[in-house]
């Protein structure tokens, strides 16, 4: 009887909420990892906790707020110095890597998720005497290369290489022959596709938060709000998170 360990990175946004719901519908021993990296939009974190509760999955919240001191050059970690871009067209967004890029954030998040998953798998093998042949280790990541094509760490070619780095650096692969799997089912989907998928899965997206600002209601102007609104409009569905 194989043990399928799964870990989903749950930020609290539309995409990761949809992904977590997708992962729940599969047959995994699933946990969610939410990372507090000092994002100015704190509202996202409380959303993630409500979503994990609603989905009935164990949530681990790690305070990685030190990261903003290492990766200061970003409007998401350093609002005092950098302004959020607003009112941009999708062509503009795709054109360059915006100031909302947080240096190596997804590489960092992926590594933390993998470390947690490896630790869990090693415990099953070395403490609980489960045979390595019976263990799978899958990371679910809500990367999307369509709407966020500006971000390099959302592209398929990044994950293809990253999984190899994780394998080569791990005991799980080099000693026990268990490769990490990275599942990114949203990576080629448009925001409208994701909205449709969320609707079909009845994902709790009414709880999700996308806005880069942390006010009570979404600002409606930042890149993230604009993409979300466009997704719902194209899918022909109302956004249940809007007041």
């Amino acid at each position: 009887m194989p043990i399928r360990l799964g870990l989903v990175l749950l930020s609290g946004g539309l995409d990761s909420t949809t992904l977590a719901t997708f992962a729940v519908s599969r047959d995994y021993q699933l946990s969610a990892l939410t990372l507090d990296y000092g994002q100015t939009h704190r509202r996202e974190l409380t959303a993630a906790t409500e979503i994990a509760k609603t989905l009935g999955i164990e949530q681990i919240v790690a305070d990685v707020s030190f990261y903003k001191y290492l990766a200061q050059h970003s409007a998401l970690t350093n609002a005092d110095t950098y302004d959020l871009p607003t009112g941009r067209s999708q062509a503009d967004m795709a054109d360059d890597i915006p100031i909302t890029y947080v240096p190596l954030r997804n590489t960092f998040f992926l590594t933390l998720a993998a470390a947690r998953l490896e630790s869990h798998a090693l415990r099953e093998i070395e403490q609980n005497a489960i045979s390595p042949e019976d263990i799978e280790a899958t990371l679910f990541i809500a990367a999307n290369a369509v709407d966020y094509s500006g971000y390099p760490d959302c592209r398929p070619e990044f994950y293809e290489n990253a999984v190899e780095t994780l394998n080569r650096g791990s005991k799980l692969w080099t000693q026990y022959g268990i490769p990490f799997k990275i599942d990114t089912p949203l990576i080629e989907m448009s925001k409208a596709d994701i909205v449709r998928m969320a609707s079909e899965l009845t994902a709790p997206i009414h709880l999700s938060w996308s806005c880069y600002r942390g006010s009570e209601t979404p600002c409606g102007e930042c890149d993230s709000c604009l993409l979300r609104a466009k997704g719902f409009a194209q899918a022909g569905l109302p956004d249940p998170a809007l007041p």
Copy 2:
């Protein structure tokens, strides 16, 4: 006039102290990053700070102690559950990946170092209007595949792949064409070679700490103490850190 940005991961051990001294002797704008990951041997951290001060390089200490909760399956992060191996021969050490392996620790450390370095480089380009052609970004890592061949994340094939992941996930490479360089000059050296190098560079290794335990003096029994002692013996030099 190129700006050569360098960042060295300084743990406070013999190897990273030697490496930091080597990097100082090169022409870099150099910083040291020391990571507090909740290691049971806290003594290593105070050593790192003294070493950075002696070498005259800016030190950044990041509290990443949350990592021990994600990567619990290790004797270095969870002394309550796992015992340190002691009195092992070098053949034993090379044979398997020991319980002192911390899940994906070096992948994690490397990512943090790269994020800091990328943030610095992006600031030079985007705030200080330095041309990307004039910037180099080098990470100095004291990985060693000879004495620590048991650890997968100390091997050359790990770093060869990891640098590609860092590049693919970064704005520095995908937008500005600046690749990360990872310099691991110790990777093929024996511990005796490293001791000789430290001696030639007059590295402040009298301040360094290798023991996996955190007592006042090194235990002399753990893998790390045994390897260090063997290195000094083979190099025919006394260990200046011993009382």
